[in-house]
């Protein structure tokens, strides 16, 4: 009967183990938000490139953009809020 507790706690441990990591795909050293370029400017830039933007949020000091790019691919892209340049992200695993 001790086996039940052992088996169950093993499974519970597996589940709990996965919850400890919470990181985005990139970080930006971007300082205070007052020095950032406006999000609307980034959006206009990307729309002009042919992107369809679904959502822009902040993550790790970057602008994180969920969009369909000009090739029709869905992308989760990061941009530096000061330069609005693309920030390389970890490859998608």
């Amino acid at each position: 009967m001790k086996n039940v507790v052992m088996m169950v706690s093993l499974l519970a441990g597996l589940l709990a183990g996965g919850s400890s990591s919470a990181t985005g795909l990139a970080t930006c050293d971007s300082g205070p938000k007052e020095s950032w370029q406006p999000q609307e400017k980034l959006e206009k830039m990307l729309v002009a490139k042919g992107w369809r933007i679904n959502r822009v949020k902040e993550d790790g000091g970057c602008y994180e953009v969920y969009a369909i790019n000009e090739k029709g691919q869905r992308v989760e892209a990061y941009f530096h809020p000061k330069t609005l340049e693309s920030v390389p992200t970890q490859p998608r695993r």
């Binding site: 086996n3 039940v4 169950v8 589940l15 919850s19 919470a22 985005g24 679904n54 989760e76 970890q90």
Partner: protein, 174 residues
């Protein structure tokens, strides 16, 4: 174990443990493992797509009609559990039966909301993400309750129910 009876057929057991693995892996791949997370989600949806029809066509203990009891009966069973005089069930007991329905339903919804997030139209959309996360949290709560129920019933009936879900056999009723 004295002459044990076959209760859980192989498909039920394969579905159960594939679901355990896929839910655990989906939980572990929430952040930064998008491609893996998506495929794991499809595996869990595939399990539900197999298990639901099997609940109508499968062997006795696999069928929903055998273990989904009306609310009144389920409450009465819960009262017997609290009073310490509940009967043994070879398949799911009434509380366990409802847990199966809730677990399968929750996996289905969390999988569908996850898939929705990957469509062009809803890619990255906040409310879809919020619903997906809310459903994954409720699934974890159900899993915790399910494990608690399995441990409790294992002790109460002096039968390792985790092992029973592995080899499929249980002690006969009489």
């Amino acid at each position: 174990m004295e002459t044990a009876v076959k209760v859980w057929d192989p498909l039920v057991r394969i579905c159960h443990w594939t679901l355990v693995a896929s839910v655990a892996l989906a939980w572990a791949t929430q952040e930064g493992w998008g491609a893996w997370h998506e495929w794991i989600g499809y595996v869990s949806l595939a399990v539900v797509a197999v298990r639901l029809p099997w609940g109508f066509l499968g062997t006795a203990a696999a069928r929903f009609v055998m273990f989904v009891r009306p609310p009144g009966e389920t409450l009465a069973y819960a009262r017997r559990v609290l009073a310490g005089g509940e009967e043994r069930h070879l398949g799911h007991n009434p509380l366990g039966g409802w847990m199966i329905v809730l677990l399968l339903g929750n996996v289905l919804l969390v999988g569908l909301s996850g898939w929705l997030f990957t469509t062009d139209r809803y890619w990255g959309v906040k409310w879809v993400e919020d619903i997906h996360e809310g459903l994954s949290n409720s699934l974890m709560a159900l899993v915790a309750l399910h494990l608690a129920g399995v441990i409790f019933t294992s002790f109460r009936q002096r039968e390792n129910l985790v092992a029973a879900m592995l080899h499929g056999r249980k002690r006969p009723l009489h």
